[in-house]
């Protein structure tokens, strides 16, 4: 059916025989390289030759004042925005700048939005099923069946995010926090190599936050996790390595203590924010 399109798409054949993304090459350690990346929206540079490397299995926190370019950075990694200059590599084999969102996603990059977006018309269960790593071509999807192992996988994640009870409820009725969780759960279903988590605890209660913290920490090691967060307390509670973005480029990098003691950082950011937190 989509023959015409498949032909148009540069590097693939029919969906239903498309190879699942070739393994990510992380022999050299890092899973994500961003080199001299610059994005300018008619003149204004949202990202200004940013250099960033994330190691495989690392948990990285990224902080920075509004307009520092945190979200734009995520857009670039996930293929939503194309940088004006620079290169972005996933492992040492995949050039992300040549792929579109779905391709990048199926390569193993999961993203959680700032504002939780789940499929409100679908049940929690369906949400997870759709997110699950699988061949996401048309015919496989059309003929997909529910197998025991998928059930188990979903149940497992359900218990992780604690929505087992609500599995058959439409996601629309979940609370804000629960939506956040569901979205994280969807990330887990994707079995991503790299998770990009944008403000995961916004609108969560204290204990929800703690559980989120635990979850993210537990993920690290198996997957690489990049957390963008405003809440300094939360960051402090999970952070091993912190990157401070400012005006679209890295201002400082290191452990929370190093960073927070860095005068530049204090000047532009922390000082102000500490009081807030």
């Amino acid at each position: 059916m989509s023959l015409l399109q498949s032909l148009k798409a540069r590097d693939r054949v029919f969906d239903f025989m498309a190879p699942t993304a070739s393994p990510v090459d992380v022999r050299h350690g890092p899973i994500l390289y961003m080199e001299d990346v610059t994005v300018s929206f008619d003149g204004f540079k949202a990202i200004n030759n940013l250099n960033l490397t994330i190691d495989d299995g690392e948990l990285r926190c990224i902080i920075g004042p509004n307009g520092a370019g945190k979200t734009t950075m995520m857009d670039i990694i996930t293929g939503k925005t194309r940088p004006t200059e620079g290169s972005v590599w996933f492992g040492s084999r995949h050039n992300l700048l040549q792929m579109n969102e779905p391709e990048i996603a199926s390569l193993g990059v999961g993203r959680k939005f700032q504002k939780p977006t789940v499929f409100e018309a679908l049940s929690v269960f369906d949400n997870l099923e759709l997110a699950m790593a699988a061949n996401k071509g048309i015919f496989p999807t059309l003929t997909a069946r529910m197998t025991g192992e998928i059930q188990d996988r979903i149940d497992e994640v359900l218990s992780i995010i604690g929505l087992t009870a609500l599995r058959f409820q439409p996601a629309g009725i979940l609370s804000h926090g629960q939506k956040q969780w569901l979205e994280i759960g969807m990330l887990l279903m994707q079995r991503p190599r790299l998770l990009l988590v944008d403000e995961p605890v916004a609108g969560m209660t204290e204990q929800e936050m703690e559980r989120t913290a635990e979850l993210l920490v537990s993920l690290a090691g198996k997957q690489s996790v990049v957390v963008v967060e405003h809440d300094m307390g939360f960051v402090r509670s999970i952070a091993r390595k912190v990157t401070v973005l400012h005006q679209g480029s890295v201002l400082a990098e290191g452990s929370m203590d190093q960073v927070s003691s860095d005068p530049k950082v204090v000047e532009v950011y922390l000082g102000a924010d500490e009081e807030a937190a």
Binding site: S2, P102, A121, K136, L142
Partner: protein, 380 residues
Amino acid sequence: MPNANSASRFWLTRPFGERATQIFLGVLLAALIIVTVLHVAVPRGHALHVNAYTVNLFGKYLSYALLAVAVDLVWGYLGILSLGHGAFFAIGGYAMGMYLMRQIGDRGTYGHPVLPDFMVFLNWESLPWYWHGFDMAWFAFAMVLLAPGLLALVFGFLAFRSRVTGVYLSIITQALTFALMLAFFRNEMGFGGNNGLTDFREILGFNLRSSDTRLGLFLASGVALALGYILCRAIVTSKLGRVCVATRDAEARTRFIGYRVERFQLFVFVVSAMLAGVAGALYVPQVGIINPSEFSPLFSIEIVLWVALGGRATLYGAVIGAILVNYAKTVFTGVMPDAWLFALGALFVLVTVFLPKGVAGLLRHLRRRSSSTSPGEATA
């Protein structure tokens, strides 16, 4: 009703797991049988007799219903409000019409063995290339599917690739059907211009002017509707169906979890277009004429109303809507021609404002207890 996921193993058999489907198919089957019996068995002039005219009418409604199902598939589950589905319907109709024209053979008023009458008196000396092959049923019927499918493929490919969505998509679909209407009105096109194609005689060797053939067409429409319904059900209850709903509600998200949204949209759009084509093909022999007015944007908008009235994203709602509106049309144009358009207009307003979930929504509202977790039943 049981959750779609735990339903039976094969995607094509899954829909039968649903009560909605079972009820719908049951009712449809019953209707077909009853009408047939009343038409054949009950003697003419008897109070219960259903005459050929009525059978013909029902046949028309059924083909409209199939069209409505096709529209509901894209609008209800994919969130694409197509104002151009009349075009696919009409193209399917023309494909069938061309076949029927060729079947006339030398029985046309000019008795020309090859050329249809309108070509003879507009001085076409030979058959244009795109008319070749339509004398063969299999070719024509293939075209009924392929022609609309191809148009949908090309149009959809362009539109979805460049992520034209929402209002914009609706408006260019409208432009599409409008352009086609103007094109088919041109006599140079070789489709009979404003007069379109008419004066059909035979289909597959059966005399189109006998009431038996008409009964056959009625039944055929019924079967086609049933099959079309099952196909759509299968699609929307499959995982793909849920991807569609996901796309409808949060397109970006769907992309980020790795689905090539535009391909899913294209797939469903093409399927829907083909269904519309089939509907058109069944419609034409029953009303006995196809002309460019079927391309008119107003008609396409009216189709959407049928769906809206019946209830989006339920499929059976679309069927209910189509039959209700068209029956009303038949009745009112008879008894109160002037007030009829007021009624239709008011219907548009009231349904969209006060009955966003349509009749189906109303029904579901009446019997609350049935848990509604099958995909898409919550309107976006």
